[in-house]
């Protein structure tokens, strides 16, 4: 049972344009959502997060939007840069227990010059 889903395995975008990565979740108990970025042969690195009490969080070129009613979140990268090429994982957790992360399967973003 995949509780966090990233239905697009890959995305190609031109440099300077917007990248939009999508994520859906099924567990209504999730109340905190994170995006991680992963380069080959490295561990995931934290990028940006959002609490369920917000619908938007912005950090520089990265913005995460949360639509609780649709159980959907998205990561916008504007403008996209070649160095953003990586695998992006959406993750979620609950504010109970030990806050273990539940990850999606990832979206590979390729930003071409």
């Amino acid at each position: 049972d995949q509780q966090v889903k990233q239905n697009s395995p890959s995305l190609s975008v031109q440099e300077g344009r917007i990248s939009i990565l999508n994520c859906d979740y099924t567990n209504s108990m999730f109340d905190y959502f994170l995006w991680y970025k992963k380069y080959p042969a490295e561990g995931p690195t934290f990028l940006i997060s959002i609490s369920s009490i917000k619908d938007k969080n912005e950090d520089g070129r990265f913005t995460v939007f949360l639509n609780k009613s649709a159980k959907h979140l998205s990561l916008h990268i504007v403008p996209s840069q070649p160095g953003d090429s990586a695998v992006y994982f959406c993750a979620a957790n609950r504010n109970t227990g030990f806050q273990k992360l539940v990850f999606g399967t990832g979206t590979r973003l390729l930003v071409s010059p």
């Binding site: 561990g43 934290f46 997060s49 994982f89 957790n93 227990g97 030990f98 806050q99 273990k100």
Partner: protein, 115 residues
């Protein structure tokens, strides 16, 4: 400062062998997680330590998997009698405080291949 380190980075084991994977978390981090990432999948939770206490091991796939963190710092994940389905990248993550375990710092992982 140093990040989370893991060793070995790559391990090839013959089916039936035992393996031990090491994680050195960021100094002073209270929370430590182990995840398993199969090819083409996202990381999946295995187990969680708060200091030396293993508080959640619900993700360990079988009793062949065992983890410890005896002094509340370095952790070892041991897999006995490895099987081909154990082939994956094993990721360790740490977090400075229990209340902020949400934002976890990951190591580079150990890629285990069972032949």
């Amino acid at each position: 400062g140093a990040g989370v380190s893991q060793s070995p980075r790559y391990k090839v084991a013959k089916r039936g062998q035992d393996v031990a994977l090491r994680c050195d978390p960021i100094s002073g981090h209270v929370s430590l997680f182990w995840y398993q990432q199969a090819l083409g999948q996202g990381p999946e939770f295995l187990t969680y330590f708060q200091n030396e206490a293993q508080l959640d091991k619900s993700g360990l796939p079988s009793d062949r998997f065992f983890a410890e963190r005896p002094e509340g710092s370095v952790s070892t994940l041991k897999i006995q009698r490895t099987q081909q389905e154990d082939s994956a990248v094993y990721l360790c993550a740490s977090s400075p405080r229990v209340a902020q375990a949400r934002e976890q710092y990951f190591g580079p992982g150990t890629r285990l291949t069972v032949t």
